[in-house]
């Protein structure tokens, strides 16, 4: 994918010296001999001394809302693919509904089903535990699934959720954004298509200014397109 990055952003490579105050070292950096170096290829945020990744796999954190795909059903729960090096586990006890007598987990959700869920625990071996006892947790058996680079998720959400709100309001659709880069969109087909196009633009132009204005404009023009039957 071709990136669009405003030229004033400084691109750094692993090993570039970015600071001399180890106390300030943020994510995407490492410290050696009291110097702060870039640990990944990305964009330097000089203020908070961190490197914003351009790519890379999603590493789960407690509290993240993720969109997962059921991989396997076990007697005590489900293993869930969250597009990360670590698969997650959703125990039966964290499923919000009651499992009726005589039924087991595979009658509730099967391989290939899509869910949104919250990361509630990660042990030192990076075993990840999910819960669906959360108001944003759902079984997503209709709608569309889009995948973007997870590092661009904050831009899709926008400041205090402004971007997602914009898409929802202007297009009258439902959206759930997983921190792992999976985004669920549900609504009228033409509107959902516009939303997905917008998400792709946000992903590509995540590191530029004036994104909200451009998206507003894009939606305005897109809504004028003749509806397909």
């Amino acid at each position: 994918m071709k990136e669009v990055i405003s030229p004033e952003r400084k691109i750094v490579l692993p090993g570039d010296l970015i600071g001399k105050n180890p106390k300030k070292a943020g994510p995407g950096t490492y410290v050696e001999n009291n110097r702060v170096y870039a640990g990944i290829f990305g964009l330097l945020d000089e203020k908070s001394l961190r490197v914003i990744p351009l790519k890379g796999r999603y590493i789960p954190e407690v509290g993240n809302l993720v969109i997962g795909i059921i991989e396997e059903t076990q007697s005590n729960g489900w293993s869930v693919d969250i597009d990360s090096p670590y698969e997650a586990f959703l125990p039966v006890s964290e499923y919000p509904g009651r499992i009726p007598q005589g039924k087991d987990p595979k009658d509730i959700m099967k391989t290939g089903d899509v869910i949104s869920a919250k990361v509630v625990n990660i042990d030192p071996l990076m075993r990840v535990y999910l819960s669906m006892k959360d108001r944003n947790a759902k079984i997503l058996n209709r709608g569309r699934l889009v995948e973007i680079i997870h590092t661009r998720v904050p831009r899709v959400i926008g400041r205090k959720g402004s971007m997602v709100s914009l898409l929802k309001k202007e297009l009258g659709i439902s959206i759930i954004v997983g921190q792992n880069g999976r985004i669920w969109v549900f609504g009228e087909e033409d509107k959902a298509n516009i939303a997905i196009e917008c998400i792709k633009i946000i992903e590509r132009e995540a590191h530029t200014d004036g994104l909200t204005e451009r998206i507003t404009e894009y939606i305005k023009n897109a809504k004028k397109r003749p509806e397909r039957s």
Binding site: I69, E71, D81, T111, G112, D113, V114, L140, N141, R142, G143, R144, L145
Partner: protein, 261 residues
């Protein structure tokens, strides 16, 4: 590696499928439309002939190597074609290192059959000393990026590379180098069968819907020179003829690209 079974979200697969039910492919193509095809030849100087073919984002390289060797006892005056395919793990998260599996063997053999049966190469011209020494032609298929329909990309890369091949006479002391004579242009067209629908040149997203494929290879006279039904499904006669008609027509279009190679 467990990754060999790519987990696909049902709703994603359903969406591709729903679109098809509405007579639409997710990338907006017509059902019998190929993605954009690009052919480049002569990339590998070490090879006697080479080509890279891109069909959309799928990318396959073929290199041709030739060396003298023994003929088969039953064809003492004919050269030998040896085809091989490697699905190197670089090309897809689902490919694993190791000896060729059934998929890469099938891939190579279907390419081989098209070239052999169309008699694209005049094997008699590849005899050096009858019964003792003939040219061995190695067709090595190297998959670089798998976004679906490796079969047609490989076949097209193979014939493109052959069109670009020089017989290395000098290196082995047999006089001047000469162009490898290619007499025909076999072209394969692969379709994915989803329910009753025929999807020509399936992308990797579409290949996740169904394993039912059929490849039809035709020559310059619209003769069929190879067929491969691949996948556990039942093909009806009507469907077969429909696919054959489409394949002949599509192969003609692709063959026109080969004339510029």
């Amino acid at each position: 590696m467990k990754l060999s079974n790519e987990i696909v979200a049902d709703i994603k697969r359903d969406y591709v499928y729903q679109k098809l039910r509405n007579n639409e492919r997710i990338d907006g193509r017509g059902f019998t439309e190929f993605r954009k095809i690009r052919i480049e030849t002569g990339i590998i100087d070490k090879a006697e002939g080479s080509a890279v073919v891109r069909i959309g984002d799928t990318e396959v390289m073929v290199g041709i190597k030739m060396q003298p060797g023994e003929p088969f006892p039953d064809t003492p005056d004919r050269g030998v074609i040896i085809s091989n395919a490697e699905l190197v793990p670089l090309a897809s998260p689902t490919f694993e290192p190791g000896p060729p599996d059934e998929n890469s063997i099938e891939l190579a053999r279907v390419v081989d059959r098209g070239i052999r049966e169309s008699e694209a190469i005049d094997l008699e011209k590849l005899c050096i000393t009858e019964g003792e020494e003939v040219w061995l032609v190695f067709i090595d298929i190297h998959v670089l990026d798998d976004d679906g329909n490796l079969q047609d990309a490989s076949a097209l890369a193979a014939i493109s590379a052959l069109l670009n091949t020089t017989i290395p006479n000098e290196r082995f002391g047999y006089g001047d180098d000469e162009i490898l004579p290619v007499r025909d242009l076999p072209v394969s067209v692969t379709s994915l069968i989803v329910d009753e629908m025929i999807l020509v040149d399936p992308s990797s997203d579409e290949e996740k819907l169904s394993k039912s494929r059929i490849t039809i290879t035709t020559d310059t006279h619209d003769n069929i020179v190879a067929i491969q039904k691949s996948g556990a499904y039942t093909l009806t006669e009507d469907k077969l003829y429909e696919v054959v008609d489409i394949s002949i027509e599509k192969a003609r279009e692709i063959r026109a690209l080969l004339r510029d190679v």
